[in-house]
Symmetry: C2
């Protein structure tokens, strides 16, 4: 299976200029810098991969539109990227999706198709077939991984002596891209994935050297709702090649990190995005460290609980 | 009275590299970009002016230390800048200052001198005389104004066709520097100051063409506790020369803007920092607009009220 290369990631970086923000590194304490992807237009790093994937489509293919099935940050990112390209986007969401998320997707000009949960993938496939549209997967695609990898490119460019990069892990698109970039540019830098204990399937998989599947109901227990997906073969290959370790954090540590980030870094970060700071606060520092904050889309009620 | 020039501001920009963050411009809506100075190390733009003022001192003078009287963002900025230079800082605060603010100042390695409110200025003057230290004023100094002006430099560099820049006004150091930079680089861009209605002394002063003094008790009514100071002769001269207008916003509009920024921009912004977005939401857009968010130091209880 072909892994994403540093030249794929460099090319993605050129493509996403103007669509994604080059987020600053913010000093948090003596040993930690934050990479706040919560400041992206859709509130998450997902715009990098989605935009790169759309940019890579031939113009006539892209013009027929794109489809995604997701109710989270990836859906927003595909809708936003499609708007920037002026092409139609259809987002298939479960009919249980909260109104506020549907409205956010609609606000980017996308069509929202609500179906029973079990019909998501098949309805998306139908739309692709009917319209000649292209499915943009949330992580299982080299163009998406290359786009997310631009985070790693920026980290090493800004902090060349970085010893460790902490990255949230769910489906693994972000950590795959970041690790591919970091290891190419600075092989001595350690890339550490972070998962909730309650959705620690990737940590277990890396430990045993093969994909271990956890039931979706188990993975759904964590408050970090962006970290409930599981790696694909493609992302797991990247992790095996480039990720040094995956550590886990408790629900309590995640909540505390959300609060610390609000009070000390003045950032609204979702629980999924705060796992890296939770890990940093729980382990000895190995030198200059960067914590990637993957997103900031959190219900105000949930957020207020941790202030 | 000599006004700060664009070359003063350019020189300040070179000096503050590494001490202040080059904050990104974040797209907020079709017409508005945010300049989130809340992401600076001390949570406010103040580090720019304080660091520039310290950098401008002769080394032997700086080594004798610096003094500031303030319990707010300026105190943190002077303490932090002194730490970066490895010189002592004494911060004189009223004995009513909340413990959390005292601790924040102590955490930067500064000495905190607590005195009755009425003794602040005189105690600071004594420390200056006793130690040969230098007083760093919060806004009434060209080096401080030039440092704050680097915000304007960055805005025009990133968004050359900016039609309007909205800037909070208190003592006027920030708006003076920003306006001096913007008018030098892009004379057609309008610079609009924003004040709370309840502390609208600068707006009134600009309208009548002379400094109008409001009683401190009146200015203290606003929730925007960073905007309760009044302009000096020096900052007012800059405003008369470079600021197109100063508008005011209500307490209700300020609170609503804090909430909108948390939910839609994922930023923790203090009421003083949110007045510019409050103004934007209340007036017709004149084209591409930048709202400077001056700081993010807000009590969690106050912040939670607006979520």
């Amino acid at each position: 299976m072909g892994l994403v290369t540093i030249s794929d990631i460099r090319a993605a970086a050129d493509r996403i200029v103007g669509a994604a923000v080059r987020t600053p590194l913010l000093r948090f304490d003596d040993g930690l810098w934050l990479k706040p992807e919560s400041l992206q237009p859709v509130g998450a790093f997902k715009i990098r991969g989605a935009y790169n994937a759309l940019a890579r489509l031939p113009e006539d293919v892209r013009a027929r539109g794109v489809v995604a099935y997701s109710s989270g940050n990836h859906a927003q990112a595909v809708a936003y990227a499609a708007k920037l390209f002026g092409v139609p986007a259809a987002i298939v969401v479960p009919d249980t999706t909260p109104r506020v998320k549907v409205d956010a997707t609609l606000s980017h000009g996308a069509e929202v198709v609500q179906v029973p949960m079990a019909r998501r993938e098949s309805r998306a496939a139908e739309l692709v077939a009917e319209r000649g549209a292209t499915l943009i997967p949330p992580f299982d695609h080299p163009d998406v991984i290359a786009g997310q990898g631009t985070v790693g490119l920026e980290v090493v460019a800004e902090l060349p002596d970085v010893a460790e990069v902490l990255v949230p892990v769910s489906g693994g698109g972000l950590v795959s891209g970041v690790a591919a970039a970091v290891k190419a540019l600075s092989p001595a830098t350690r890339v550490i994935g972070v998962e909730p204990e309650l959705a620690g399937d990737a940590a277990e998989s890396l430990r045993v050297g093969a994909l271990v599947r956890w039931p979706a109901d188990d993975r759904a227990r964590t408050i970090a709702d962006g970290l409930r997906a599981e790696p694909s073969e493609l992302t797991f290959e990247h992790m095996r090649a480039y990720v040094d370790d995956i550590v886990t954090v408790s629900e309590e540590q995640i909540g505390a990190a959300v609060g610390v980030l609000a009070r000390r870094a003045r950032l609204v970060v979702e629980p999924s995005g705060a796992v890296t700071v939770a890990a940093h606060l729980a382990r000895p520092s190995a030198g200059p460290t960067v914590a990637v904050l993957s997103g900031g889309n959190v219900d105000p009620e949930v957020f207020a609980r941790y202030l």
